[in-house]
C-alpha cells in the first residue's frame, strides 16, 4: 500500500505540471481582500509610535514606583482542596475518548472532535485562557492524575532516573519544534486518524518519561505543552499559591506581575520562548505573497502543503534563528550601552518580556480560526462518533461562518488584532523595563540597556501588523 501511495504521490507531483496548462485553480478573493482596502498603513505607523512613546515615557518614570505597583497583589480566595489529580484524571479520560473518536469517528476534520479540540480548543483557546486565567493546564493536563495514581502504587516521586542537567529545557525546545512543524508544515495535521496516533504516541511517551524521571522534572524540561502553558500563564493576573497539603490560595495582581519576579531562564528556556513566538509568526509569514514569491510559488495557484514541506521547514527554522539572533543581539548591545559591571544572564531575564507578544500573536493569528472552528468543535463534541447523538444540545448547531466574512467583520477583526499586537508590545516594553531596573540597578543604565530591545519591539510591532494586513494565500 505504501508503494501505491508513493506511486500515486509521484503521479500527483508529475500532474501538477499538467495542471498548469489544464484549467483554473481559483484563488478565493477571501477576507484579506477587505483588509487590503483598509488604511492599515496608519495602524502600522500608529503602532510604531505607540510602542516608541511608551518606551520614552518609561525612561522618565521612576522605576521603583512602577515596580511597587506591579508587585501589588490582593488575596482573593482560599480553596480548601487541591483537585488537580482528579481533574487531570478526568482530562485523561476525555483525551482517551477523543483519541477513540479520532480513530473511529468521522473522517471529516470539521466533524471529528479530535482535531477541533487539539488545534482549536487547546492550542488556541486554552493558550488564551492560560494568559488570562492562569495555569489551568496544571489541572487539565492528562498525565498528573495518572502519575499520582502511580505514586500510590509505589512509584518514587522523582522517578528512577535523572535528566542530565546540561540538557536544560533542550528536549522541550526540540518537541515544540516538532509540534510546530506538524501543525504548520506537515501536509495533514487535521487528519483525525493520523492526529489520533500522534496524540496517543505523545501521551504515552510523556507518561513513560514522567514515570522514569518524575513528573516535576519532566513537565518542567521536556513536556513542551506544560512548559509553554506555564510560561504563558505567567502573564495572567491570577496566581495560585499552594499552602501546605491540599489547599490553594488565589491572588490577583496586574497582568504580567508574575513575569517580573520570575527566575532567569537558561539558554534553552530563552530558545523555547523565542521558538514559541517565531513559530506563530511563521504561521502568518508562510501565507504571505512575499514568502510564496520568495520560494517561487505563485500565490494564486497555491500548490498545497505537500509541495512546500522543504521550503517551509527551512522557513520555520530560519525564522527561529533570525528571532534568536535579533533578540540576543539587542540584549547584548544593550549591555554594552549600559556599561558598568556585566549582568548575569540578562537574556534569561529579559526574555520574559516576550510572553505578552507571543500571546498577542496567538490571539491575532488564530482569532478567525477560533471563531469558526470553535463552532464546529461545539457541534462535533455533541456527536463525537457521528452516531446521531446530541450530548450537549449543540449537535445541530449551524456554523455561522459569517462572523468572519465580509467587510464589516474584516474591520472588527483587524482592529481587535491590531489592538492586541500594539497593546502586547507596549506591555512587553514595560515588563522589559522593570526587569532591566532590577538587573542594572540605576535608571540610567536600565534605560540605556533597553534602547536596542525597544527598537526590536517597535520593529516587531510593525512586522506583526504587516503580517495581518499583507496579501495572503494558503
Amino acid at each position: 500500500m505504501t508503494g501505491r501511495i508513493a506511486r500515486c504521490g509521484a503521479a500527483a507531483f508529475a500532474a501538477c505540471a499538467l495542471a498548469a496548462s489544464g484549467g483554473p485553480a481559483w484563488a478565493h478573493a477571501s477576507d484579506r481582500g477587505h483588509v487590503l482596502l483598509l488604511p492599515t498603513h496608519y495602524y502600522l505607523f500608529g503602532g510604531m509610535l505607540a510602542v516608541a512613546l511608551s518606551f520614552l515615557i518609561l525612561v522618565f518614570l521612576p522605576g521603583e514606583g512602577l515596580g511597587r505597583l506591579a508587585g501589588r497583589r490582593i488575596r482573593l480566595v482560599r480553596l480548601p482542596f487541591d483537585g488537580r489529580a482528579g481533574v487531570s484524571f478526568l482530562s485523561f479520560l476525555c483525551l482517551a475518548g477523543l483519541v477513540l473518536a479520532g480513530l473511529l469517528g468521522s473522517r471529516d476534520p470539521l466533524s471529528n472532535p479530535l482535531p477541533l479540540v487539539i488545534w482549536t480548543l487547546m492550542w488556541v483557546g486554552l493558550t488564551l485562557a492560560q494568559g488570562v486565567l492562569g495555569n489551568l493546564w496544571a489541572w487539565l493536563n492528562p498525565w498528573y492524575g495518572i502519575w499520582r495514581l502511580l505514586l500510590r502504587a509505589g512509584l518514587p516521586e522523582s522517578g528512577w532516573l535523572r535528566l542530565p542537567e546540561g540538557l536544560g529545557m533542550g528536549p522541550a525546545v526540540v518537541l515544540l519544534f516538532a509540534f510546530a512543524w506538524f501543525e504548520l508544515v506537515y501536509p495533514a495535521p487535521d487528519d483525525p486518524a493520523r492526529l489520533a496516533l500522534a496524540v496517543a504516541a505523545y501521551w504515552l511517551f510523556s507518561m513513560i518519561g514522567m514515570a522514569l524521571f518524575g513528573y516535576p522534572a519532566w513537565s518542567r524540561r521536556v513536556e513542551f505543552l506544560s512548559v509553554f502553558f506555564g510560561m504563558v500563564a505567567r502573564l495572567s493576573p491570577f496566581e495560585a499559591v499552594r499552602r501546605g497539603q491540599g489547599s490553594v490560595v488565589l491572588y490577583a495582581g496586574l497582568p504580567g506581575h508574575k513575569l517580573r519576579g520570575s527566575a532567569a531562564l537558561p539558554v534553552s528556556g530563552v530558545a523555547f520562548l523565542l521558538l514559541a513566538l517565531s513559530s506563530v509568526s511563521f504561521d502568518g509569514f508562510m501565507r504571505t505573497f512575499f514568502w510564496l514569491d520568495l520560494i517561487g510559488v505563485n500565490p494564486l495557484e497555491f500548490p498545497g502543503r505537500s509541495a512546500l514541506v522543504g521550503a517551509n521547514t527551512a522557513g520555520l527554522f530560519g525564522m527561529f534563528l533570525l528571532l534568536c539572533g535579533a533578540f540576543l543581539g539587542c540584549v547584548r548591545l544593550g549591555e554594552v550601552l549600559a556599561g558598568g559591571t556585566p549582568v548575569r544572564n540578562a537574556p534569561g531575564m529579559l526574555v520574559w518580556s516576550i510572553v505578552p507578544i507571543a500571546l498577542a500573536y496567538h490571539f491575532s493569528h488564530y482569532l478567525v480560526v477560533f471563531l469558526i472552528n470553535g463552532q464546529y468543535a461545539l457541534a462535533a463534541l455533541s456527536d463525537p462518533l457521528v452516531r446521531g447523538w446530541d450530548l450537549f444540545g449543540t449537535a445541530g448547531l449551524y456554523v455561522q461562518a459569517g462572523v468572519a466574512l465580509g467587510a464589516q467583520s474584516a474591520w472588527i477583526i483587524w482592529n481587535a488584532q491590531a489592538f492586541a499586537i500594539i497593546g502586547a508590545h507596549v506591555l512587553a516594553v514595560i515588563i522589559a523595563h522593570l526587569i532591566a531596573h532590577h538587573l542594572f540597578g540605576s535608571a540610567r543604565r536600565a534605560s540605556l540597556s533597553q534602547v536596542p530591545l525597544a527598537i526590536l519591539m517597535i520593529a516587531y510591532t510593525v512586522f506583526g501588523l504587516w503580517l495581518l494586513s499583507a496579501p495572503t494565500a494558503g
Partner: protein, 434 residues
C-alpha cells in the same frame, strides 16, 4: 474501524447533517439509532457509497463548505425519493487539504479502505489532475465538479468524467457572441499572468475574432501584484470592452483602482464571477461594478422569473434571495459553481440506474452508461439548465448566464445557448481501455 468512518448523509436544507438529524429525530419522535440513517423508501438495501473528496481545509475550504452543503442537500433529495436502484446513498467525506498529493492518497483510501463505489466532488484543478492517475490506476470512477478544461483536453483517463459543470473553454467561448453584439467588438483582456488567465486569453481570443471582434490589447498582471493603477494606461483608448478575470485577495483593490482610474467614462466591463465568488457584491470598493456584466454558471441572486425547480433547489441547499445562507446572511454561497455537485449526483444516479449498477464490478459499465448520455433537460435534476454531454470528451456543455450588476445585485440579462460554447472534441476517452 473503517466501517464507522462514514458520514451518512440524510440532512435537510443543505445545512449540516447534524441539524437535520436533530430535525428528523424530532419529527419522527425517535432518537436515532446507531447509524441513524432513515432512507425513506430505500431502507432495506446495502447503501451505495460515494467518496466525497472535499476541500475541507486548505485554500479551497470556503468552496468546500458550500460543496458539502449542496452535496448534503442533493443526497437527501435522492434518498427521500427512494435512493438509487432502491438503495440508499451514503456520502463518505475525506479532506484532501486542497492538495494534489493528498488528493491522490484520498482516492486510494476511498478505493481500498472505505471501499466506496466511486469518488466524486473535487473542485480545484490541481487536485483533480493530481488525483486522476490514482483513480485510473485503481479503476474507480472519478466524477469531478471542477470546471477545468483538463477533462475535455484528453489528458486524464477513462475513469474521469465531468458531467455536471461546463468547462472554462466553453464558458469563455460562449460569452463572445453576446459581448460582440451588446458591449463592443474591441476588447482588452486584463488577466493574471498564469495558467488561469492564459486559459481565458487563449479561449476567448479566437471566439471574439469569430464574431468579427478583435482583442486590441492583452494586459497580463503578475500574480503577486496588489496595486494595479500603473497597468491601466496599457488599456488602449479605442477599447470598448474590458474583459477581466482577476482573482485572489487583491480583486477588490483591482476593482476600486479601476473605478478611480476610469471614473464614469471608461469602457464597458465584462468579468467572470469567479473573481468575486462568495464575496458580497455590495462590499465597499466594488461600487464601480454597478452596470457591468458577469458570467455566472448559475445565478447567485433569485430571479423574478426563475422556474419552480430553481426555487426548490435554492431552498434545499439553503440560500436566500441574495445567494447567502438562509441561516447566516453574511455567508455568501459559491452559487455559480456548487450546483455542479447537485447535478453530478443526479447524473451518477441516472448512470447507475441505466446500467443497473450492482456493485464495484459494474464500475466500467457505469462509466459506459455515463458516456452514453447526451441531452439533459433542465429541471429538478438539472436546475442550472439544459445540458449536452459529450461521451468522447467526458465533458458536459450547457447554457450560461450573463448577468448585470443592478443596485448591487446580479440580474440575468441573457442566457447563452449550448452551441455558443460547444467546440469540436479534442479527445476520445471511449477509445481508451478500462
Amino acid at each position: 474501524m473503517s466501517e464507522n468512518r462514514k458520514l451518512q448523509m440524510n440532512s435537510a436544507s443543505g445545512v449540516s447533517r447534524r441539524t437535520t438529524l436533530k430535525g428528523l429525530g424530532a419529527a419522527a419522535g425517535l432518537i436515532a439509532a446507531p447509524g441513524f440513517v432513515r432512507y425513506g423508501q430505500a431502507q432495506s438495501s446495502e447503501p451505495i457509497r460515494i467518496g466525497f473528496q472535499c476541500h475541507r481545509t486548505g485554500i479551497g475550504a470556503a468552496y468546500g463548505r458550500w460543496y458539502e452543503r449542496t452535496t448534503t442537500a442533493a443526497a437527501k433529495r435522492i434518498n427521500d425519493a427512494g435512493g438509487i436502484n432502491g438503495r440508499p446513498l451514503e456520502i463518505v467525506i475525506e479532506d484532501d487539504g486542497t492538495d494534489p498529493k493528498r488528493g491522490a492518497e484520498v482516492v486510494e483510501k476511498f478505493a481500498n479502505q472505505h471501499k466506496v463505489d466511486l469518488v466524486y466532488g473535487t473542485l480545484f484543478s490541481h487536485v483533480v489532475v493530481g488525483s486522476a492517475p490514482a483513480a485510473g490506476e485503481l479503476k474507480i470512477p472519478y466524477y469531478v465538479v471542477s470546471e477545468g478544461y483538463h477533462v475535455a483536453s484528453g489528458k486524464l483517463n477513462r475513469y474521469c468524467v465531468q458531467p455536471g459543470i461546463t468547462d472554462v473553454k466553453a464558458q469563455a467561448r460562449s460569452m463572445a457572441p453576446w459581448i460582440a453584439d451588446n458591449l463592443g467588438k474591441k476588447v482588452t483582456l486584463v488577466y493574471p499572468d498564469y495558467a488561469f488567465g492564459h486559459d481565458h486569453r487563449d479561449f476567448f481570443t479566437p471566439a471574439i475574432e469569430a464574431q468579427g471582434g478583435q482583442v486590441v490589447a492583452k494586459v497580463p498582471i503578475p500574480p503577486t501584484e496588489t496595486s494595479f493603477t500603473r497597468y491601466f494606461p496599457q488599456i488602449p483608448s479605442e477599447t470598448e470592452v474590458i474583459y477581466h478575470v482577476m482573482v485572489g485577495p487583491a480583486v477588490l483593490t483591482f476593482v476600486k483602482e479601476m473605478g478611480e482610474f476610469f471614473g464614469n467614462s471608461g469602457p464597458k466591463l465584462f468579468g467572470f464571477i469567479d473573481s468575486l465568488e462568495a464575496v458580497d457584491i455590495k462590499s465597499p470598493g466594488l461600487e464601480f461594478l454597478e452596470g457591468s456584466h458577469f458570467w455566472e454558471g448559475m445565478p447567485r441572486y433569485a430571479q423574478p422569473d426563475q422556474a419552480d425547480y430553481v426555487t426548490a433547489y435554492r431552498e434545499a441547499v439553503g440560500i436566500d434571495e441574495n445567494g447567502a445562507s438562509t441561516q447566516d446572511a453574511k455567508d455568501v454561497s459559491t452559487a455559480a459553481h456548487m450546483f455542479g455537485c447537485w447535478e453530478t449526483l443526479n447524473i451518477i444516479k441516472a448512470a447507475m440506474e441505466a446500467c443497473d449498477y450492482k456493485g464495484t464490478d459494474d464500475r466500467a459499465a457505469m462509466i459506459e452508461a455515463t458516456e452514453a448520455m447526451t441531452d439533459m433537460e433542465a429541471g429538478a435534476d438539472h436546475p442550472q439548465g439544459k445540458k449536452r454531454f459529450n461521451g468522447k470528451t467526458h465533458q458536459v456543455f450547457g447554457e450560461q448566464s450573463i448577468s448585470q450588476v443592478v443596485d448591487g445585485k446580479l440580474k440575468v440579462v441573457h442566457r447563452t445557448s449550448i452551441e455558443d460554447g460547444a467546440y469540436e472534441p479534442e479527445a476520445d476517452y471511449t477509445a481508451m481501455s478500462f
